[in-house]
Every structure is written in C-alpha cells, then in structure tokens.
Amino acid sequence: MIPPNSLVFLIDDDASVRKGVARLLRSAGYESEIFASAFDFLGRAPHAGPCGAIVDVRMPGLNGIDLQKSLIQRRREEQLIFITGYGDISMCAEAMKAGAVDFLPKPFGDAELLQCVERALVRSAEQRRGRAARDEARRLLDLLTPREFEVMQHVITGMLNKQIAPELGTAEKTVKVHRGRVMQKLGVTSVAELVRLAERACITPRGRHETKV
C-alpha cells in the first residue's frame, strides 16, 4: 500500500541504472524524481510527504555516505536506501548504523528494491506522523504560561496539588487553578491524557518523584 503523497528519489551517476530503476518505480506505481548527483538532490527543496531516496554509494563529488551525513545534519526526513556496484561491506555497516533503510548490492532484484522502497515510505510516513503529533503537542504546550508549564511538569509526575504547592512556593489553590487551566488549554480531561501528551511532545517530567503508594 503506497502511502499517499509519497515520492521516491533516485540518485545515481549511471544512466543505465537511472533509466531502469525509474521505469521500475513507475511500473510499481511510485512517483519518482531522478537525480544524477547528490549535489543536484540537495538543491531540491524537501518534499512534504513520505519520501524515500535510493542512493548510489560511490559517486563522483559527494558520495552516498556523505549525503547521508549531510541530510542528518539538516534534519531531513528522507529514508535512504543505499545501492552499490562495489559490494562494500564496511560501508554497509556504517550506513545502516546511521539509519539507512537498507543496503542493496547491484544487481539487485526488482522485487527486492520495491520492498525496500515500500518499507522506506512506510517508515517515512510513520516518522512524519510521529513528528506531526509531537509538533501538535508542542504547539499546545506553547499555549501554557511558564507557571502553568511548571505545574504541568509536576503534575505529570503524579504529584498531588498539595505536594506541588510547596515545590513551587505557592498555595495549593493556586496550583489547582493552574492545573485546571492547563487541562483546559491542552484539551485533556485526565492526568493520563496529559502524561501522554507530554510524552508526545517529548517533555521531560520534573520534580522529585516520590511515588507514595
């Protein structure tokens, strides 16, 4: 199942490979864009949708591995599939550790490649979803005032209002008021939801957690 709005990038300096793989992608129903060099690819604006990139490892100029590093640096989302005519095993390990989807030695089977592409796009979509959720949660959290944010941070640890008050140096009532506002702003009805939202936003809980049982 192809995620909607998917795009597959193909970056290889060899014409035969470009032609063949492009046709293969097209035949499988994927939208694709072909680039002859890594530089050309970096020049393209990031795609707003799940995307994968099939990258040749050995290219003149910027090679595949360097491209990977570069993308990571730019926090790009493309899921990389490395292909190589050389069969470099060492590179393979490095690439995988840096987060590549797969490493295929040429000549690879058509089914093999398409499976990788599917996985890449699925992963890309997932990543995008995850990111989207986090961004949403973060946005909501940005609505909180700093005091409210502090209170939230203590609430998600499971602390009672009366416990939070002395922590923050305010009255319990104040805490409760803040708590109410937080819940309301964030649109959550329970502490559990709040905790999940905070997790989504990747907020670290604060406070001494002495969970009293």
């Binding site: 035969s16 063949g20 793989v21 035949s27 290219m59 005519g85 050389y86 000549p107 058509d110 490649l113």
Partner: protein, 742 residues
C-alpha cells in the same frame, strides 16, 4: 837510247811490277785465282816484252826464229792465264770452251817445240830492217810460214769468240762497265795479236811482233779494274771494321741488357757441338766463365726428372726448325736447384738439317717458388674451407656467388652447380627472402660488411635459422673483388630466443591478468551498472504487463534499453577478455591518444573507488605508431593503478592523476603519468623497473619490469622522476617505426 828500247823496257817493267803486285795480293788473299792468274799473265807479258825487245835487235834470222820459239812459252802462259782470268773474274763463258782453248794452245805449244823453228815460221830466212818513225831501225822476220800456225791462230780465234761471248754475257748481266773494260779490252788485245800473227807471219805487214804493247791495253784495263776492286776491298774492310766495332758495341749492350734482365743467352753450334753462353748464362747454369761447353755438359745440368721433357722439346724444335719453350729445373754442382725458363729456336741449313740453335734462358726460381706458395696457400684455403664446420661462400663483383664450401653443400644437400650464381637463393625461406636480398644488395653496393639472419633449407627439407656474415674482399691495390662470408646454424639460439620471447609474452599476459585482478572490484562494478538496468527494466516490464496498462511503444523502449544495457555489459566483458587474452602481440597502426582514452574509461570505476580524479592532456595531432594496443593499454593501466596506489594516503581533494601525450617532432611520441602521491624514494628509484622488485605488500613486482619490456619492444625507453609539487611522474617514449624484434 832508242825510244823503242825505252818503251819496251817500260812496258816490261810495268808488266813485271803489276805481276809482282798482284802476286803479293794473291799470296795475301789466298782465295780466288784471279789475282794469281793476272799476275801470271802480267809476268808472261813482261817476259814477252823482253823477248820482243831482244828480237827487234836480233842480228840474224836464226836468232829471231829462236826467240820466237821461246816466246811461245810465255805466250801460252799469257793466253791461258788471260782466258782463265777472264773466266773466273767475270764468272762467265762456257768452261768447255775454256778447256778447248787451253787444249788448242797447248797443242800449239807442243807443235811449236816439235817444229824445227817455231810455230809461226817453218824457217826464218832472213831479216828485214826498216826504220820506224824515222829514227829507229828494227828487224822483222822474213821466212816461210808454218802451217801449224793455224792451230795457234785457231786457238786465238776461239779465244776471241770466247771473249766476245763473255762480253755479251756480262753486258747482258748488267755489268757493262766490267764487260767493256775487261773482256772488251781483252778482245781487242786478242784481235790485235791475231791480226799481227796473221799479217806479220804471212808477210802481209812488215812489222815485228809487238804483242806486248797490245797487251798494255789489257793491263791498263785490268789494272783499272783491279785497283777499283782493291779500293772497294779497302772500303769494305773499313766498313767491316766499323761494323765490327758497332757489332761489338751491340754485343756489349745486349750482354748488359741480358745480364740486367737476368737472361742468359746461348748459341749452340750443332755441327761443332759447341755452346756459347753469355757470362750471365754461365753463372746461371753454374759453368765456369772459361769452361768449354757442349751439349753433354748442358744436359748434365738438367734435373733428372725434367730431362726427358726438355730434351723432347729441343728435339722437336730441331726437327721442325721452330721455336721451343720449356720450364725445367737444373741442379748445380753444389746441390742448389734452380728453375729455368728457356726458349730457343733452331736454324736449319739449306738441306733442312739443324746447324744452329740460339736461345735465352731465365732464372724463374722465385716465380716458381711464388707459384708453389700460391698453390699451397690455395690448397690450404680449400682444405680449411672444406673441413671447417661453418658454411663458407664467396661472391664476385657482380653479386653472383662463385664458391661454396663442402660445409654449405653438405648442409643444403645440393651440388655446387645448383648453388652457384643465384641458385643458393632458392634455399632461403620465402618469408625472409625479401629482407635478405635487400640487406645483401644494400651492403654490396656500399661495399660494407653485413650480418643477417634468415632461414635456410637443410638437406632434409627443414628450415634452419642461420647467421650469415659477409665481408668485402679487396686486392692488394685496393680493387674490389667481391665478398666472402660464412654462415652458422643458429637455430638453437633462435629457438631459445623465440622461447624467451614466448615467455615474455606469457609473462606480459599473466601480468595483464594480474592487473585485471587488481581491478576486479571496479570491473565488477562496471558490469553491475548495466545489469542493474537490465533487471530493473525487466521487472518494470513485467509489472507493467501485470498491471494491464502498458503501451507497446513503452515496452519497445524498455526492451531497447535492456538490449543496450546488455551490449554495454558485453563490452565490458570483451574489454576484460582482450586484456587477459593470451596470444602473440598484434602490431598495427595505433593512435596513442585512443589508447589513453580507452584506459581512462577502463580505470574510471577504479578511480571512483579510490576517489581519484583522472585528467588527460593529449597532443592533438599525434601520429600513429606501429604497436600493440593491448600491450600499450597494459602499460598505461599499470602506471595509472600504481598512481592510485601512491595516493592512498593523500587527501581526497588532492588525488589527481594526469596523463599527457606529446610529440617531440623527431618522430618519437612521449607519454607520461603523473600523480600527487608519496613520490619515489632514492633507493627505490634504482630498482624501480627490476623484476620481482615491489614496495607493495602483496605485489609480485613484475608489473613495471613488464611495462619496461613492452616500451622497449616498441623502440622506446621508460623512466621515473619525482615532481615539484609532490608526487612522481613516469614518462616513456615510443618510436613510430620499431624493429621487429618482438
């Protein structure tokens, strides 16, 4: 005194004087009777003159008659001697007539003395005196004539006839002067006598006998004639003396010349068996200067072995009167042996018998020794030529061969006749023939020595490689005589060479294989690209068909791409196969720039692999050279891969290999491969191209050694240097035409 007496005495004196002179001449000369005869006749005339004088003064008839009687004796002498004188002196007149005359006169003389008185008168009766010319008184006989006088007169007549005959003969002969003078005057004289005898005797004329006066005429003539002869004789004697001197001079000159030339002249008087020799001749034959020489002595000198032939030659010449020539040895008494060349000619006499032989002999010992030495040297040459284990040949100035030794003939198994001229070329291998001939002709025209190698067919039909060396020959004066040369069978060496070459080729091949092995990763990559294309296209095609919506044109395009990729893969495989194939080198006109370009393509994946950049800087109008493109590619790939290896530790940014080609204008092409790697250390540089020398951990060390051998086989040279700015440069030259040494 009376003039008659005077005249008479003068007459007698003259006669006696002449007689005396001619007697002396006759005695001195000793040859020819004419002088003696004339002397007799003159003496007789003198006696008659005396008697006539006496008679003229005779007192009685009887006295007169007696005088006449005795006068007949000198008269006989006179007449006979005159006749004989004329006959011998003028060499004319029939002898029988002479004898007849003599006979008649002898008869007359006999009759004269037999008769009582004398021949003319039977009886003298008296004297008559009369005076002559006034003053003198002379007596004349008167008497009865004797009929026997006729005999005498007949004799006189015959003499006259004889004399006329002689006159005519001599006149006819052309000796007119002598004819007139001698026999003419003699005839006149005899006529007078006859007339006087007849007339006076028969009383017709009154006169005494004056025979002597008539004789004066003859004497005068004779005197003149004989004085002339004397003069001529003296002249001849002078001439003879002069010619003797000249002759002696000539003889001396000839002697000198003969001696100078080492010639000994000799003359053999066959009849007397005496040999005369010049001093040179004597010393030549070892004879003493004054030894008497004859044929036996000469014969004894001849060497026993040659005696027969020499004598035969001489005998032949003697018989035919022709010339003879012979060469023979003589043995001198001291044991020395000399060679003599003698030539001579026999002179035959009128009967065809040999009387004289003259000739010249020459010492030819040195020449004979020279000939002997030459014969020996030739024999030595021939023995050496025929027993030497090499093949020897000689050619003349026309390039055609004139001699082959046994070794050659045995090798080729042909006869000398078949090989002479240019028959030997038939044995040369057809592939080598052109080159062979060209070398031979070129060297021949330049009169230079040469060596060439070619295949020659042996007697068993197999072709063997031979090394032929030829040298020009010159005569002592510098004149060109032709060539002499020798061949040796170098088939073993040639086979070894071919073996070595084969090994070199194999080694080069293995090196190429190793090179390809080194580049296997990149070569595999080169194959993987099109294969990926093919697999992807094929997969796409299947999916498109499965999906159901595919246009035929799309499929066509797809299949075309597959096909192209397949070809591309095939090219790569072919390229590899070419590099790793075995086999002989294939020489063709090669463009070095094309080789560089193909090399760049081949090394491209490897360059990528090692992150090296390859740059070329090629001479635009590079001429083609005769070479093997596969081997040249091998050279460049080797150098480029080495360059990659050298830059292993160089930062990626600086990794560059520069390949350049240039043409130095003199026909040689220069190429270089420059890297920016670690460079070459001094100690490595010395051994760079040595076989089995390597700085790589896993290297065999043959790469550069083979590179060098390939470059050298293309007529070039290779070297390496460190470059300013880092790295090393390997540069080599290739010559456009290189010798086929493989």
């Amino acid at each position: 005194m009376s003039w008659i007496t005077l005249l008479g005495s003068m007459d007698a004196a003259l006669c006696f004087t002449l007689a005396g002179i001619y007697l002396l001449v006759a005695l001195k000369q000793r040859e020819g009777w004419e002088h003696l005869l004339f002397s007799c006749s003159a003496a007789a005339a003198g006696v008659i003159a005396e008697l006539e004088l006496t008679a003229v003064r005779a007192g009685t008839g009887g006295q007169y008659g007696e005088i006449i009687r005795w006068a007949h004796l000198p008269l006989w002498v006179l007449l006979v001697s005159v006749v004989w004188f004329v006959h011998i002196y003028l060499r004319a007149g029939p002898r029988w007539l002479v004898w007849t005359i003599c006979g008649l006169r002898t008869l007359a003389l006999g009759l004269n003395f037999l008769s009582k008185t004398n021949l003319n008168f039977r009886e003298v009766t008296g004297l008559r005196h009369f005076s002559w010319w006034g003053r003198e008184t002379v007596s004349a006989p008167v008497g009865v004539p004797n009929p026997s006088t006729l005999v005498g007169q007949l004799g006189l007549l015959l003499i006259l006839i004889f004399l006329v005959n002689v006159t005519i003969t001599v006149w006819r002969r052309g000796d007119r002067r002598r004819a007139l003078l001698v026999s003419g005057s003699a005839s006149f004289f005899i006529t007078l006598i006859l007339g006087a005898s007849v007339s006076v005797g028969w009383g017709i004329i009154q006169s005494p006998f004056f025979v002597s006066f008539a004789y004066l005429g003859l004497i005068a003539a004779m005197g003149y004639e004989l004085s002339d002869d004397l003069l001529r004789a003296a002249q001849l004697a002078r001439q003879f003396r002069a010619s003797q001197i000249t002759l002696r001079e000539n003889e001396q000159r000839m002697d000198l010349a003969a001696n100078a030339a080492g010639l000994g002249m000799w003359a053999w008087d066959i009849t007397r068996n005496e040999i005369w020799m010049t001093s040179q001749g004597r010393s030549l034959f070892g004879f003493a200067p004054s030894e008497k020489l004859d044929f036996e002595r000469f014969r004894s000198r001849i060497h026993p072995e040659d005696r027969e032939s020499v004598l035969d030659a001489r005998t032949q010449s003697l018989e035919s009167g022709g010339e003879y020539e012979s060469e023979y040895r003589i043995a001198l008494p001291d044991g020395e042996v000399r060679w003599i060349a003698g030539c001579g000619r026999a002179e035959l006499n009128g009967k065809g018998e040999p009387v004289f032989m003259r000739g010249v002999s020459r010492d030819i010992t040195r020449r004979k020794q020279g000939e002997e030495a030459l014969r020996e040297s030739e024999a030595r040459f021939r023995i050496m030529a025929d027993t030497a284990p090499v093949m020897i040949w000689m050619s003349g100035t026309d390039k055609l061969c004139i001699f082959f030794n046994q070794g050659w003939l045995k090798f080729t198994g042909r006869t000398l006749e078949e090989e002479l001229g240019d028959g030997w070329t038939k044995g040369v291998h057809p592939d080598d023939f052109e080159r062979c001939l060209a070398t031979y002709v070129k060297s021949f025209d330049a009169r230079q020595p040469f060596t060439m190698e070619y295949r020659l067919r042996r007697s068993d039909g197999e072709y063997h490689w031979v090394l032929d060396t030829g040298t020009p020959r010159f005569a002592r004066g510098g004149e060109f005589l032709g060539y002499i040369g020798s061949c040796i069978d170098i088939s073993e060496r040639k086979l070894a060479e071919l073996d070595a070459q084969r090994h070199r080729t194999e080694l080069a091949h293995l090196s190429r294989v190793a090179l390809m092995g080194e580049m296997s990763a990149s070569l595999a990559h080169e194959l993987n690209q099109p294969l990926t294309g093919i697999v992807s296209n094929a997969g796409a095609g299947q999916r498109l068909i499965d999906a159901g919506h595919v246009t035929l044109s799309e499929l066509r395009e797809l299949l075309a791409d597959i096909s192209a990729d397949g070809r591309r893969a095939g090219d790569v495989v072919r390229g590899i196969r070419e590099m790793v194939r075995k086999g002989e080198t294939v020489r063709q006109q090669t463009n070095v720039n094309d080789v560089v370009r193909s090399v760049v393509q081949i090394v491209h994946p490897d360059a990528l692999l090692r992150s090296c950049e390859v740059e070329t800087s090629l001479e635009p109008n590079l001429p083609t050279i005769e070479g093997d493109p596969v081997q040249l590619r091998q050279v460049l790939i080797n150098l480029v891969v080495n360059a990659f290896d050298a830059m292993h530790d160089t930062p990626v940014v600086d990794r560059k290999v520069e390949i350049t080609t240039a043409w130095s204008g003199n026909g040689a092409i220069r190429a270089s491969v420059r890297d920016y790697g670690v460079g070459i250390s001094e100690e490595t540089r010395a051994h760079l191209f040595d076989p089995f020398f390597t700085t790589k951990a896993e290297g065999l060390g043959m790469g550069l050694a083979i590179v060098r051998s390939i470059v050298e086989s293309h007529g070039g040279a290779i070297a390496a240097e460190n470059v300013e700015g880092g790295g090393a440069r390997f540069y080599f030259t290739l010559s456009p035409n290189n010798p086929t040494t493989g």
